[in-house]
C-alpha cells in the first residue's frame, strides 16, 4: 500500500521538478526571473507592466536615462522612496514613491535593479549584491538576511 503511494509521490516531485527547471531555464536564469517577480509585486502598479510609466504622472523605467545617470543612487532610492520632483528623459515628474524600509534585502534590490537595468530598452551593466550593499551604506539601508 505504502510502496505505490511513495512511488506516486516521487513521480509527482520529479514531474514538478522537471516543470520548474524547464520553465526557469527557458529564457531566464533564476536570478533574473526573481527580479521580474519583484518588479511585478512592488513596481508594476505604478510604473506599468512594461515599465512604461503613466503619461507625465509616473516616470518610465523602460528606456530611461535616469537609470544610467543615477545608477549609484538607485539602491537608496528604492530603500527610501522619493518625495519631490525628478527629471526622466527630459520630463519633470512629481509624485510620491514609497520606500522599502524593511521588506527587501540587498539581494532583492540587486535582482530587481538588474532586471530593470537589462530589460525594456535598457542595456546597462548589472550590480553585484556586494556593490548594492556598499551603495546602500550612505542611507544606512543595507539589509542582509
Amino acid at each position: 500500500m505504502s510502496w505505490p503511494l511513495s512511488l506516486l509521490r516521487a513521480g509527482a516531485v520529479a514531474a514538478a521538478g522537471l516543470l520548474l527547471t524547464t520553465s526557469v531555464t527557458g529564457c531566464f536564469s533564476n536570478k533574473q526571473n526573481e527580479g521580474a517577480k519583484l518588479y511585478q509585486t512592488h513596481c508594476a502598479s505604478c510604473h506599468g507592466d512594461q515599465g512604461e510609466g503613466l503619461r507625465r504622472l509616473i516616470p518610465p523605467v523602460a528606456a530611461s536615462d535616469y537609470l544610467v545617470k543615477h545608477r549609484n543612487e538607485l539602491p537608496c532610492l528604492i530603500r527610501q522612496g522619493l518625495n519631490g520632483p525628478i527629471v526622466v528623459n527630459g520630463i519633470e515628474y512629481n509624485q510620491v514613491m514609497p520606500g522599502h524600509k524593511t521588506d527587501l534585502t540587498d539581494a532583492d534590490i540587486a535582482n530587481l535593479l538588474n532586471f530593470i537595468q537589462q530589460n525594456w530598452g535598457n542595456h546597462n551593466p548589472p550590480y553585484t549584491v556586494r556593490e548594492i550593499s556598499e551603495l546602500l551604506a550612505p542611507c544606512n539601508g543595507s539589509i542582509i538576511r
Binding site: S45, C46, R56, I58, Y93, V96
Partner: protein, 227 residues
C-alpha cells in the same frame, strides 16, 4: 455541527435561486436578444409602496472640480458617467486604476454623452491646483469631460458608499487611506448600472462593452420622451 454545516449552502442556494428568478423576470419583459444593464445599489430609505424595491438613487451633491468650478448632479443631467475614488499622492493602486480609466476615456473621448468623475479622498492635500496638475499630467485638458473633484471629507465618503466603493481613513496602509479601485457606471436617472474592478483589465473591458448598451437605452428613453 451538522446543522450549521448545511445552513450556509442552503442560504447560498436560496440566493442563487432568487438571482435565477430575477433573471427570468427580466427576460420575460424584454426580448432575449436585447441586453440591458441591471440597476444596482443599496436601499436604505423606507419603501414608498410595497412594490418599491429600487435602490436609492445617487444623492444630491455639490463638488468643486480642477478648474474651481462647482459641479453637481445637474452637471451630469442627460449624460451617463463613470466615477471612481483616488488621491493624488496614492502610491499603491491609483496609477494603475487611473491608467485603466484613461483607457475608457480614450475609447469615449469623442462622445459628449459620456462623462468621467474622479473624487479625491484626500481633500486636505488635494487642493484645486493639485487636482489641476494631476489632470494635466494625465493628459486631460477638457475638465468638462473628466472632472477631478473635491469636497469636504464627509461628503466624499458618503458618496463613496452611494457609488458602492469602499473608502476609509486607514493609517496602517501606505498613503493613509484604504480604498477599493471600483469604477461605477451611473445613468441619467442617477442609478448605478454597473460596478467594475478598476484594477482588472477584463473588468474594465466589460465596462467598455457595457457603455454602448446603456447609451442605447438612454437614447431610446429620450426618443420615447420626445414623442
Amino acid at each position: 455541527m451538522l446543522h450549521s454545516f448545511f445552513r450556509v449552502p442552503a442560504l447560498f442556494l436560496g440566493l442563487m435561486l432568487t438571482a435565477g428568478f430575477g433573471l427570468f423576470g427580466c427576460s420575460e419583459t424584454t426580448p432575449p436578444q436585447e441586453e440591458r444593464l441591471s440597476i444596482l445599489g443599496l436601499k436604505r430609505t423606507a419603501p414608498t409602496s410595497p412594490s418599491d424595491t429600487l435602490p436609492d438613487p445617487i444623492p444630491s451633491f455639490t463638488l468643486t472640480n480642477q478648474e474651481g468650478k462647482t459641479i453637481n448632479n445637474q452637471t451630469f443631467a442627460g449624460k451617463v458617467y463613470v466615477t471612481d475614488f483616488f488621491f493624488a499622492t496614492c502610491p499603491s493602486i491609483c496609477p494603475k486604476m487611473q491608467s485603466e480609466l484613461l483607457r475608457v476615456y480614450e475609447a469615449y473621448k469623442d462622445n459628449p454623452n459620456v462623462l468621467f468623475l474622479s473624487h479625491t479622498i484626500d481633500p486636505a492635500h488635494d487642493s484645486i491646483p493639485v487636482l489641476r496638475d494631476y489632470a494635466e499630467r494625465l493628459g486631460i485638458k477638457d475638465a468638462s469631460r473628466w472632472h477631478f473633484a473635491t469636497a469636504p471629507h464627509d461628503t466624499i465618503f458618503n458618496l463613496a458608499r452611494a457609488y458602492m466603493t469602499g473608502a476609509q481613513v486607514d493609517k496602517t496602509v501606505q498613503g493613509g487611506f484604504a480604498h477599493s479601485g471600483t469604477f461605477a457606471l451611473i445613468d441619467s436617472k442617477r442609478r448605478v448600472r454597473g460596478i467594475y474592478d478598476g484594477m482588472e483589465k477584463s473588468q474594465v473591458d466589460l465596462l467598455i462593452h457595457d457603455l454602448p448598451i446603456l447609451l442605447k437605452e438612454e437614447a431610446e428613453a429620450k426618443q420615447t420622451a420626445a414623442k
